[in-house]
C-alpha cells in the first residue's frame, strides 16, 4: 500500500492535467489549473531547500578550510545581504536589490557569458583538428555560415544567400530529425510516469 499510493497520486494527477489539455470542461479546467498552481508553489518551496544547501555546504567549506574557502565566505555574505534587503525592501524591486541586480549581477553575468565567444572558438579549433569526416563537414558548413554572417555587411550577397540556404534546408532538416527523436523520447518518458511504469520519485 505504501508503494501504491505515490504511484496512484502521480498517475491520477498526470492524467487529469493531460485530459484538461484535450478536453474543454469547466470543472476539468478548474482542477487542472489548481494542480498547476500547486506545482508552482511546491517548486517555489524547493528553493528553501536550495538555500539551506548553499548555506550548509559553504559553511562547512569555511570551517574545514577546504580549497576555495575564501570564495565561500563571499557567497554566504552575498546570499544574506540580498535576502535581508529583499525582505526589508519589499521584494525584488526594492532599491538595494535592484541596484545589486543592475550594477553587480547583470554585468557579471554578461561578462561570464561573453567568454562564450572565446570558448566557442577554441572548441571549434579543437574539433576541426580531429580530422574525421564529421568534423570536416562541420568545418565546411561553419566556414560558409561565418562567411555569410560577415558578408551581410558587404555586397557579397550570393554568399549570404548560400548561407541562408545552408541554414534553412540541410541544417534545418537535421534539426527537425533530432527534434522528432527528442520529442519521442520526451513522450516515452512522460508516458512511463503516467502509466506508473517508471518512478523517478522516491517511495
Amino acid at each position: 500500500m505504501r508503494k501504491v499510493i505515490p504511484i496512484l497520486v502521480a498517475v491520477l494527477t498526470g492524467l487529469t492535467v493531460l485530459a484538461d489539455f484535450f478536453i474543454t470542461h469547466p470543472i476539468l479546467d478548474l482542477v487542472g489549473r489548481t494542480l498547476l498552481q500547486w506545482a508552482m508553489i511546491v517548486a517555489a518551496f524547493a528553493f528553501v531547500a536550495g538555500l539551506l544547501n548553499i548555506f550548509f555546504t559553504h559553511t562547512s567549506r569555511v570551517f574545514h578550510r577546504e580549497k576555495g574557502w575564501g570564495y565561500s565566505i563571499v557567497v554566504i555574505l552575498a546570499m544574506w545581504t540580498v535576502l535581508v534587503f529583499g525582505f526589508v525592501g519589499n521584494g525584488p524591486h526594492g532599491y538595494v536589490v535592484s541596484w545589486i541586480f543592475r550594477y553587480v549581477q547583470y554585468p557579471l553575468q554578461a561578462t561570464v557569458m561573453a567568454l562564450l565567444a572565446f570558448f566557442a572558438l577554441s572548441a571549434g579549433y579543437r574539433a576541426f583538428r580531429r580530422r574525421t569526416l564529421e568534423s570536416t563537414i562541420m568545418l565546411l558548413s561553419a566556414s560558409l555560415v561565418l562567411l555569410g554572417y560577415a558578408a551581410i555587411m558587404t555586397d557579397l550577397w550570393p554568399v549570404s544567400a548560400l548561407k541562408e540556404w545552408v541554414l534553412s534546408v540541410p541544417a534545418m532538416a537535421g534539426v527537425r530529425g533530432i527534434l522528432l527523436g527528442v520529442a519521442l523520447g520526451i513522450t516515452a518518458t512522460g508516458l512511463r510516469i503516467l502509466i506508473g511504469m517508471d518512478k523517478p520519485y522516491s517511495d
Binding site: 484535450f22 517548486a43 561570464v112 519521442l184 523520447g185 520519485y201
Partner: protein, 238 residues
C-alpha cells in the same frame, strides 16, 4: 487534430507496455553500441582505481516545466552513478541548477549509501551555474565530468573548464542549437535522443529498455508516415 494526438498517445502507451512485458519475458534486447557510454564504463573503472570522484551534472533544467523529461534523463544517469559509487566506493559530486532536481540528488545519495562526494546547489541562472560548476571542477578535480541533460550555451563554459583541467568528459544535450558545442568540445558525446537511451544502456532496467524499443518503433511509423505524405503531396493527391 486533438483526436489524432490522443490516438497517437494511446497507441504509444499500449506499445510501451507490450515492449515492457516482452523485455521481462525474453530478456534484454541487443542495442547498437554507443562509444560514449562504453567510455563511461571504462571511466568508472578508472575512478575505482584512482579514488578520484566523478562529477555529474543533470543539466540546467527543472522538474516540473518544459524540460522535465531531459532533466529526468540526467537524473537517471546520476542515479546510476550514485549506485555504482555506493557499490564500489566512488565519490560522486553533483552540481544542480534547480532545487527540484537537487532533491532527487539527495534522495539517490540516501538510497544508495554515502561514498563521499558533495551535492552543490549553484544557482537557477544558467551562466552563474556554469561558472559555479567550473569552480567545483577546479576544487574537486574529478576524473570524469558527466554532463547530461537540458543544457544551453553555458555548456561551453563548463566543458572548457573541464578541458583546461585535463578532465575527461561525457556530455549529452537535446537542444539542437547547443549540440554543435557539445560535439566540438567533448570527444564523447550523446546527441539528442541518445540522452534518453543512456539509462537503458547502463542500468538495463526493463522500463528504460521498453522506452527505447517503443521509441524506435514509433520513429519508424513516423518516417513511413512522413515519406508517404511527402509523396502524396508531391503527386497532388493531398
Amino acid at each position: 487534430m486533438n483526436e489524432l494526438s490522443i490516438a497517437f498517445l494511446l497507441f504509444f502507451a499500449l506499445f510501451l507496455y507490450i515492449a515492457f512485458v516482452e523485455v521481462r519475458i525474453r530478456g534484454k534486447p541487443n542495442l547498437r553500441p554507443m562509444p560514449a557510454l562504453d567510455f563511461l564504463k571504462e571511466a568508472f573503472q578508472k575512478a575505482i582505481e584512482s579514488g578520484r570522484p566523478l562529477h555529474v551534472s543533470p543539466g540546467t533544467g527543472t522538474v516540473g516545466e518544459k524540460d522535465t523529461a531531459e532533466t529526468l534523463a540526467g537524473l537517471g544517469l546520476l542515479e546510476y552513478a550514485q549506485r555504482q559509487g555506493g557499490l564500489y566506493g566512488i565519490p560522486v559530486t553533483s552540481t544542480f541548477f534547480h532545487p527540484t532536481a537537487m532533491l532527487s540528488g539527495y534522495d539517490f545519495k540516501r538510497k544508495f549509501g554515502p561514498a563521499g562526494g558533495r551535492i552543490y546547489f549553484i544557482a537557477p541562472e544558467k551562466g552563474i551555474y556554469a561558472a559555479g560548476a567550473a569552480e567545483v571542477l577546479k576544487n574537486e578535480r574529478p576524473i570524469l565530468n558527466l554532463a547530461l541533460g537540458p543544457f544551453g550555451y553555458e555548456f561551453l563554459l563548463l566543458s572548457e573548464a573541464a578541458e583546461s583541467q585535463g578532465i575527461d568528459q561525457v556530455a549529452g544535450a537535446t537542444d539542437p542549437s547547443v549540440l554543435p558545442f557539445v560535439y566540438s568540445s567533448t570527444e564523447h558525446s550523446l546527441i539528442g535522443e541518445e540522452v534518453f537511451a543512456a539509462k537503458a544502456y547502463l542500468a538495463k532496467e526493463p522500463q528504460a529498455l521498453a522506452g527505447v524499443i517503443a521509441q524506435d518503433v514509433m520513429r519508424f511509423i513516423l518516417i513511413i508516415g512522413i515519406t508517404v505524405g511527402v509523396i502524396l503531396k508531391t503527386l497532388g493527391v493531398i
